[in-house]
C-alpha cells in the first residue's frame, strides 16, 4: 500500500467542505430573510377577525362556508357565491398575488393572500 497524499488534508477537501456548508446554509439564510414572501402560495380566510381556514393555492378546490363558497383554481382564489345583498365580494373576482384581498362586509369575511408588502408594483404614479 503506497498511497501518497491520500492521508493528508488538501485543498480539494477544504473546497468540497466549503461547498457543502455554503449550499446547506444558503436556504436557511434565504428563509430567514424572505420569510414574508415565502408563504405566497397560501390564502388566509378570516371571519369576524379570526383566521378560520388556510387554503393551499396549489390545489384546485372549493370550500363551502355556511353562506358562501370560496373557489381555488390555477393559483387564484375568489368568492364564487355569497348570500350578501350587493355581491361586492363576488364581483371582486380572482386574486392571485401577495397582499391582495377580497372583503365581504355583511358576512365579515376577509380573504387575503399573505406576504410581500407592496405586491405586484414597485411604484405607481398618477
Amino acid at each position: 500500500m503506497k498511497r501518497n497524499g491520500l492521508y493528508r488534508l488538501n485543498t480539494a477537501d477544504i473546497v468540497i467542505a466549503a461547498i457543502v456548508i455554503t449550499v446547506s446554509i444558503t436556504p436557511l439564510l434565504y428563509s430567514f430573510t424572505r420569510q414574508k414572501s415565502a408563504a405566497a402560495n397560501i390564502a388566509n380566510i378570516y371571519q369576524d377577525n379570526k383566521l378560520v381556514k388556510q387554503v393551499a393555492l396549489g390545489q384546485d378546490s372549493v370550500y363551502k362556508f355556511k353562506n358562501m363558497e370560496v373557489e381555488v383554481n390555477r393559483h387564484r382564489i375568489r368568492i364564487a357565491k355569497s348570500d350578501c345583498a350587493r355581491q361586492v365580494c363576488v364581483n371582486t373576482g380572482w386574486i392571485s398575488s401577495p397582499a391582495q384581498t377580497i372583503v365581504c362586509v355583511p358576512n365579515k369575511v376577509l380573504v387575503e393572500i399573505p406576504g410581500g408588502g407592496a405586491g405586484q408594483y414597485d411604484a405607481v404614479s398618477y
Partner: protein, 404 residues
C-alpha cells in the same frame, strides 16, 4: 487456507468489526434523528483503500444486514434506510476514489472522500424517507442541518481513517503494533453479554414456518403498507398483525423491546406533516406554526405506517432465529445468482460474523477498559478510536483466530 477463504474470513471479520462499532454507536442517544458519527462507515472506507471496491461494498451491505439481525430491525424501516444508504455512500466513495485519483496523486484525501460519502448517505436517507415513509416536503427542511453534520462527521471519520490506514501500513512494513496478549485470548474481564438477535423461542406454528415464507410475507406486507394510503387498509393490516401476534404465543410487550430508538422517528413522522401542511380547517394556532386537519390526518397516517412496518419486522425477528434467517436469505438469493450475488457466500459471511462478534466484542470492551486517554482530550479520543480500529482490523488478519 486458500486465498479465497482467507479473503472471505477477513471480510466476515471486518463485517463484525463494523457491526460492533455500529451497535456501540446505537447505544448513544441521537441528538437529531439521522445524525450519527458513522463509525461503521469508517471500516468501509479503510477496506476501500486496503482491499478494493468489491470488498468494500460487500462489507457495507453485509454489516447492515448483520447489525439488523442483532438489533432486531431486519426489514424494518430503519433497516431499509441503512441498507440503501450504505450502498449509495459506498458507491459514491468508490467512484471518487477510483476516478479522481488518476496519475497517482488523488484529488481528494480520505477526508474529502468521507465527506462525499456522508453526503451521499444523508441524501439517500432523506429521499427514501420522502418516497416511502413521510410523503411531505417538510422533511427536506432537515437538508441544511444534514449537510452541515455530514461535513463534521465526514471530517472526523476521514481523520481517524487516515490515521488507521497509515498505522496499518507502518505495521505491515515494520510490524510495530502488536496485538497485546491479554486481548488475544479471553482475558480476566467479563464483558457484558452480547445478545444476538431478539429471537424468543416458543412452540408455535409461526415459529416452525419456513423462514423463506416469513421473509417474503414481511416484504409483501411492507410493500402493501407503503403503497396504500388510507386508514382503512391500515386497520385491516393491523388486525391481521394482532392476530399473528396472538398466534406466536409471545407476550405482546416483548414486541416493543428495543424499539425505543424508533419512538423519536415516529414522533418525527407525525410532527413534520402536522406543521408543514397547508389547507383544511385550522385546529390550533401557535404564531407561525399552525396545526390543520390535513396535517393531523397525514401526520397520523405516516406514524401509523411506520408502526405497522415496525411491528411486521418485529414479528419476523421474534419468531425466527438469526441462523434460520441466514438460511432463509441464502435460499431467497438463489434466483439472483446471475447477477453475481451468491447466497452461499452471503450465508457464510453471516454465520462466521455472528460467531466472531462476541469474541471481538470482548476484545473491544477489554481494550476500552484498559485504554488511558492522554492529556489532550480530543486528540486522545481520536487516537484511542484509531487504536481500537487498528486492533480490530489486525484481528481480522490474525490467522490464530479460528472461527470458520
Amino acid at each position: 487456507m486458500p486465498d479465497e477463504d482467507k479473503k472471505l474470513k477477513k471480510i466476515a471479520l471486518l463485517v463484525s468489526c463494523a457491526t460492533i462499532l455500529q451497535v456501540a454507536e446505537s447505544f448513544f442517544p441521537q441528538v437529531v434523528p439521522g445524525v450519527k458519527l458513522g463509525l461503521a462507515n469508517m471500516i468501509v472506507l479503510i477496506a476501500l483503500v486496503d482491499m478494493g471496491f468489491r470488498s468494500a461494498i460487500e462489507i457495507a451491505v453485509m454489516r447492515t444486514v448483520i447489525s439488523s439481525l442483532i438489533l432486531g430491525t431486519f426489514l424494518s424501516p430503519s433497516f431499509i434506510l441503512s441498507f440503501s444508504s450504505a450502498i449509495t455512500s459506498t458507491l459514491a466513495m468508490g467512484l471518487v476514489y477510483k476516478l479522481l485519483s488518476g496519475g497517482g496523486k488523488p484529488l481528494f484525501s480520505l477526508i474529502g472522500i468521507s465527506i462525499i460519502g456522508a453526503m451521499a448517505h444523508n441524501l439517500t436517507q432523506i429521499s427514501i424517507v420522502y418516497l416511502l415513509l413521510i410523503k411531505n416536503t417538510g422533511v427536506f427542511m432537515l437538508l441544511p442541518w444534514l449537510g452541515i453534520s455530514s461535513v463534521i462527521t465526514g471530517w472526523v471519520t476521514g481523520v481517524v481513517a487516515s490515521q488507521v490506514c497509515s498505522r496499518l501500513e507502518r505495521n505491515r512494513t515494520k510490524g510495530g503494533f502488536k496485538v497485546p496478549a491479554a486481548y488475544s485470548k479471553k482475558g480476566p474481564f467479563v464483558a457484558p453479554k452480547f445478545n444476538i438477535g431478539r429471537y424468543i423461542s416458543k412452540d408455535s406454528h409461526l415459529h416452525s414456518l419456513s423462514p423463506e415464507i416469513k421473509i417474503l410475507a414481511i416484504i409483501v406486507l411492507a410493500i402493501i403498507v407503503v403503497i396504500s394510503e388510507g386508514f382503512y387498509e391500515y386497520f385491516i393490516v393491523l388486525a391481521m398483525l394482532i392476530l399473528v401476534i396472538a398466534m406466536t404465543k409471545i407476550p405482546v410487550m416483548r414486541f416493543f423491546d428495543g424499539v425505543k430508538r424508533l419512538y423519536l422517528f415516529i414522533a418525527f413522522s407525525f410532527a413534520i406533516p402536522m406543521f408543514f401542511s397547508y389547507g383544511g380547517v385550522i385546529v390550533m394556532n401557535f404564531g407561525i406554526l399552525r396545526i390543520t386537519q390535513d396535517g393531523l390526518y397525514h401526520g397520523s397516517l405516516f406514524a401509523f405506517r411506520l408502526i405497522l412496518l415496525m411491528i411486521g419486522a418485529a414479528v419476523l425477528i421474534r419468531t425466527t432465529s438469526p441462523q434460520e434467517l441466514a438460511s432463509g436469505i441464502k435460499s431467497l438469493l438463489r434466483p439472483f445468482k446471475f447477477t453475481g450475488i451468491s447466497g452461499d457466500r452471503v450465508s457464510r459471511i453471516v454465520t462466521s460474523s455472528l460467531l466472531a462478534i462476541p469474541v471481538l466484542w470482548e476484545n473491544a470492551h477489554a481494550f476500552i477498559k484498559n485504554y488511558k486517554i492522554g492529556k489532550k482530550k480530543v486528540k486522545g479520543l481520536i487516537l484511542a478510536l484509531s487504536s481500537l480500529i487498528v486492533m480490530l482490523y489486525m484481528k481480522s488478519e490474525d490467522d490464530t483466530l479460528d472461527l470458520i
